[in-house]
């Protein structure tokens, strides 16, 4: 699919705090990030959404000084970071996609050490660490070594370490990946609270619903190129008025989508998983004929559910990538398969 780079869409509410222009990065001749440009406004929660290997982490690495762009410019808070990556590091905090704190230190020691890296004095460090441990509900684990923390606790402490020095900008790389539902929910609440407190947040995620729930503007990145940047409400405009239905069957039936498409040419059918179909239409969908035909094909319909069109529909439409496939790919990577 030929993807055209969109024009840069700046935040409409505030001046740009992060400005990236034609940022490019190649690894061994392969283009990982291809001339991407975007602005993030001060206090904005900006989402960077794309599948595995799309260039999200490489982009964060270039913005934060862990990677050098081959070309392009980066300014954070007006400081030229492409030329001097250290120039703006005092302005931001980074939460990497892996919880990379020190396993041999306790939670409290880890936070104090991270604060010291930003030159905070002892009293400030200790007070800040205590406050964050309380905020992140980790006070009971404060004196336990990081290596003994659960995945969710590690993630929360890693986020706390990213904000201990009260940065103006926070880069969050896949903050909820691999954590349980309750922890993910709590982390999302914390991200929202940080945003409310005025922190500019640059969030990369695989989870479309997470981006939809949290972000003001979103960039879709595929194959190292930004294919769309817009506000969530503008992105959703494209699918408003659309009718969507999710149909679950007891077992998979080969070529079910193809035969349904023949029978109902006005409807769009997408395979979500082996046992799930997504039906889209510009007009209301009649469930009865659809279910009858599916059952005639030998599949037992276990559920037919109307759905509100979501950002996932926009993502699929813009990138041509099934969101579920993206999620599964990530889960496979996490499981080390």
């Amino acid at each position: 699919m030929e993807i055209q780079a969109p024009p840069t869409v700046a935040s409409q509410d505030s001046p740009a705090f992060i400005e990236a222009r034609k940022m490019t990065k190649r690894f061994a001749g392969v283009v990982a990030v291809d001339r991407i440009s975007f602005d993030v406004g001060k206090g904005e929660l900006f989402g960077f959404l794309g599948p595995n290997g799309a260039g999200k982490t490489t982009t964060i690495n270039m913005l934060t000084g862990l990677a050098r762009p081959d070309s392009g410019t980066i300014r954070i808070g007006g400081l030229d970071c492409a030329r001097d990556p250290k120039a703006a590091q005092h302005l931001f905090g980074v939460v990497p996609d892996e919880s990379n704190l020190y396993p041999e230190l306790t939670g409290f020691e880890n936070l104090c050490f991270c604060a010291a890296l930003y030159g905070m004095r002892k009293n400030e460090r200790r007070a800040g660490a205590r406050e964050l441990l309380e905020t992140f509900e980790l006070t009971d684990a404060a004196n336990r070594k990081f290596e003994g923390y659960s995945k969710g606790m590690k993630r929360k402490l890693t986020i706390a370490a990213g904000i201990i020095h009260r940065p103006q900008v926070l880069f969050l790389d896949e903050p909820t990946t691999g954590v349980d539902v309750a922890s993910a929910r709590r982390i999302r609440q914390m991200i929202a609270a940080l945003h409310v407190s005025g922190t500019t947040i640059f969030l990369t995620t695989h989870y479309i619903e997470e981006a939809e729930r949290l972000c003001h503007r979103i960039a879709f990145i595929v194959g190292g190129r930004i294919v769309r940047i817009d506000t969530v409400s503008n992105l959703l405009q494209a699918v408003r008025g659309k009718h969507v239905m999710l149909i679950s069957v007891a077992h998979s039936v080969p070529a079910l989508c193809a035969s349904l498409s023949l029978a109902f040419p006005a409807l769009d059918f997408h395979t979500v998983s082996e046992r799930e179909l997504r039906v889209e239409s510009a007009t209301p969908i009649s469930v009865g004929p659809l279910v009858r035909l599916i059952e005639d094909q030998g599949a037992d319909v276990t559920e037919a559910r109307r759905m509100q069109p979501s950002l996932e529909d926009v993502f699929v439409r813009v990138t041509g990538i099934e969101a579920d496939a993206m999620r599964k790919e990530r889960e496979k990577t996490e499981a080390g398969l």
């Binding site: 990379n100 041999e104 050490f113 010291a116 890296l117």
Partner: protein, 245 residues
Amino acid sequence: MKQWIAFWNIVLKDMRAYYLKPPNISWGIIFPIAWTGMFFIKSGGGLEQVLPLLPGVIAVSILFGTTSMLAVTVTFEKKARSFERLLLAPVRLELLMLAKTGGAILFGVANACVPIGLARLLVDLSGISWGAMAAAVTMIAIVSTFLGLFIAVSVSEIFEAQTFSNFFRFPMIFLCGLFFPIDRLPIFLRPLSYMAPLTYGVDILHGAINEANTMPLALDFLIIGIFCFALFFISVRNIHRKWIV
């Protein structure tokens, strides 16, 4: 000031997390004792052999202690990605790496105290020039640590760091005049001796302990200083080139 807070806390963190751990403390004591005992027994002499052996034992204790530690503190943290935290801190890379090596330098100096303490129990050390000895121990600790840093930055796995370290360490035991005078080495090996930084540190120690240095001490200090600068800046450049890609 903020940069120095970071500097000091990196040194303290490494000391607490790595160097002051019981296995490392015992390793830092047992290893120098083993070297001392081994060479003392091998010499076949009496207590008069302690002072001639002392420079070599001090140097080898520092060399092995520092280079082994850097493989852990740098290579391990790089592998576990916690090293990224340092790279993201608003502190110049040169200062970060000085902090990262500071603990190892102190560990090396502490290692040197073990054979000196043992020798103190066995023989009279009143003839030693303690000022030159302290300077030599410090310089050997610095150059060995920077050699360890150079090795740690050149590899990606801890076992590679240990293997690569031995590539430098074992030849240096025989080439640098630790236990065998350089002028008794085969003539074709002697140029290699003068290419190793430890040669100059050991020469200062021979001068401080036995007044048996073969080169002027000022020249020894100058050359070992050049090695320190070169190893450190090559390592920092390699971090820039290889780790911030």
